[in-house]
Every structure is written in structure tokens, then in C-alpha cells.
Amino acid sequence: MKLIRYSIVIILLLNFNTSFAQQDNLQTKITKNLRCLICQGQSVYDSDSEFANSLKFLINQKIDDGLNENQIYDYLKDKFGEWILYDPNFSKNTYFLWLLPILIFIIGGAIILKLFILKKN
């Protein structure tokens, strides 16, 4: 019984992935990480504003020119400031942003361990 169930799941999942292959596109990846300056809640990828369309075009050009992802980010950061990146770099401005959650996770684990598990009366 179980075997049949699993094989159905496998067949289902394998079936429809033959029709779509992975579209690995650097431009998509970059534009998803850029924030649009016109409609400030959207990514450049999602936005259809003139600015976003131009930026998509420009990024294609830059990729053709042989710039890599980080070079394109640096270029845009220079033009529009760090704000344009959705994925903030690890820098002195963002130490807390990246480390605080991890720190709280570790402290939380330590508290649980100390208060509830390791304590022996």
C-alpha cells in the first residue's frame, strides 16, 4: 500500500517537471534584489515603471559587457545609494541586522537548556 502511495507521489512530481526546466537567469536574480525608486515598495523585477524597465535593459547590457553580479551592485550602489539593494551587505551599518537574530537564537537555546533540561534537583 505504502509503496503505491509513494510511487504515485513520485510520478506526479516527476511528470510536470519535465515540461519546465529551470530558467537560470542572472538578470532576473539581480533585478529581484533591486528596489524600485519609483514605486518604492516593489522590486525592479516586479515593477513596470519606466525606471524599472530601463534598469532591466541596462543590467542586460552590463551583463553583456562582462560585469559580474557584485560589480553591477556596486555600480548601482554608487549611483543610487545602498538603499537600492534588498539584500543589505554585511557592513558596519548592518552588523546588528544580521547578527542580532542569530544571537537571540543562541541565547534562547541556552536559556531553554539551562532552565529546563540540564537542571537537576
Binding site: 518604492q40 519606466e50 525606471f51 534598469l55 541596462l58 549611483k79
Partner: protein, 171 residues
């Protein structure tokens, strides 16, 4: 003793949070990039309106002279508001006004200039919007005041009377 320090610490912590939220209420939530003042102008290749050959920006901007680079388009409504001020400025011989026609249709652009007058010494074409991005612009209209190949002033949005006076003061 220990039990009193913790609440006190929390209290202070929340007061700080309150203060920060309070401060941030006064800030605007709309992001405007810091103006890249005193930066070298970007180097780019561009087409002039009505011509087919591509020229380099070095041929346009000379040292020791004031330029006003204005990004405009016939479909942009605020551009119509600022146009009269550009017309006034175009009478000033100290400054050369360069128009960067942003994603425009050449017919509409011609009609626009016929209706409103042509303040531009040179009109450059930016059909893909990429040159504007090189300049760090993200909308129309935007205007840059240039001297010695450096940006000395940047105006986001239409020029008005106040801005006009500031420009005239500078040159």
C-alpha cells in the same frame, strides 16, 4: 536587588525604542538618493536628435563652462510646468542647456518644442533610459548643473522659480 535591575533595564530599553519611533515619525518615508554633488559626470556615448552618428560625452561637456543638463520628455506632465523656466534660463549666455530626451517619440518631442519653445542648445536622445541611469536619475524631469565636468547641483522634479534663482546665483 537583582529583581529590580531587570525591570529597570527593560524600561529603559522600551523608552529608547519609543524615542526612536518618535523621532522617525518626523522623517519622510520616501527615499531620495543623496545627490552626488562634486562628482565627475559620467562618460557615455549618445546620439544627437536628428543625427545618426554616435558622439562621446567628452565632446559635449567642456571645462570652464556651465552646463545645465535637463532630462525631459513630451509625455511628462511636470516637464510642461518647468519648461517656461528653462526658456527664461536659455536667454542667459553664461550657460548652455542640454536636453536629454527621455524615452520619447521624436514626433511628439518636436510638437512639444514647437508649442513650448526650444531652450536647448543640444538635444540628446535616451531612448532606452540607460543614460539617465548613468547620471543617477530615476524619473523625469531631473536636472543637473555642471561645471568643470563636475555636478555642482542636482534637482529632482520640476524647476520652479526658486530653483531658477538659485541657478542664476551660481553662474
Amino acid at each position: 536587588m537583582k529583581s529590580k535591575i531587570f525591570p529597570l533595564f527593560l524600561l529603559i530599553f522600551f523608552l529608547i525604542i519609543f524615542f526612536i519611533f518618535f523621532k522617525s515619525l518626523q522623517n519622510s518615508n520616501i527615499y531620495v538618493p543623496k545627490s552626488n554633488i562634486d562628482k565627475d559626470i559620467p562618460n557615455f556615448n549618445v546620439k544627437k536628435a536628428g543625427k545618426n552618428n554616435i558622439i562621446n560625452s567628452d565632446e559635449i561637456f567642456k571645462n570652464d563652462k556651465f552646463y545645465l543638463m535637463n532630462i525631459w520628455s513630451s509625455w511628462c506632465i511636470p516637464c510642461r510646468d518647468e519648461h517656461p523656466f528653462l526658456m527664461i534660463l536659455s536667454r542667459n549666455k553664461n550657460i548652455e542647456i542640454i536636453g536629454l530626451n527621455y524615452k520619447d517619440n521624436s514626433e511628439n518631442a518636436k510638437i512639444f518644442l514647437k508649442e513650448m519653445g526650444n531652450p536647448y542648445n543640444i538635444i540628446l536622445l535616451d531612448n532606452e533610459g540607460t543614460i539617465s541611469i548613468e547620471w543617477g536619475a530615476y524619473g523625469v524631469p531631473e536636472t543637473f548643473l555642471i561645471y568643470n565636468k563636475k555636478i555642482i547641483k542636482k534637482i529632482v522634479g520640476p524647476i520652479d522659480e526658486k530653483v531658477l534663482l538659485e541657478i542664476e546665483e551660481l553662474i
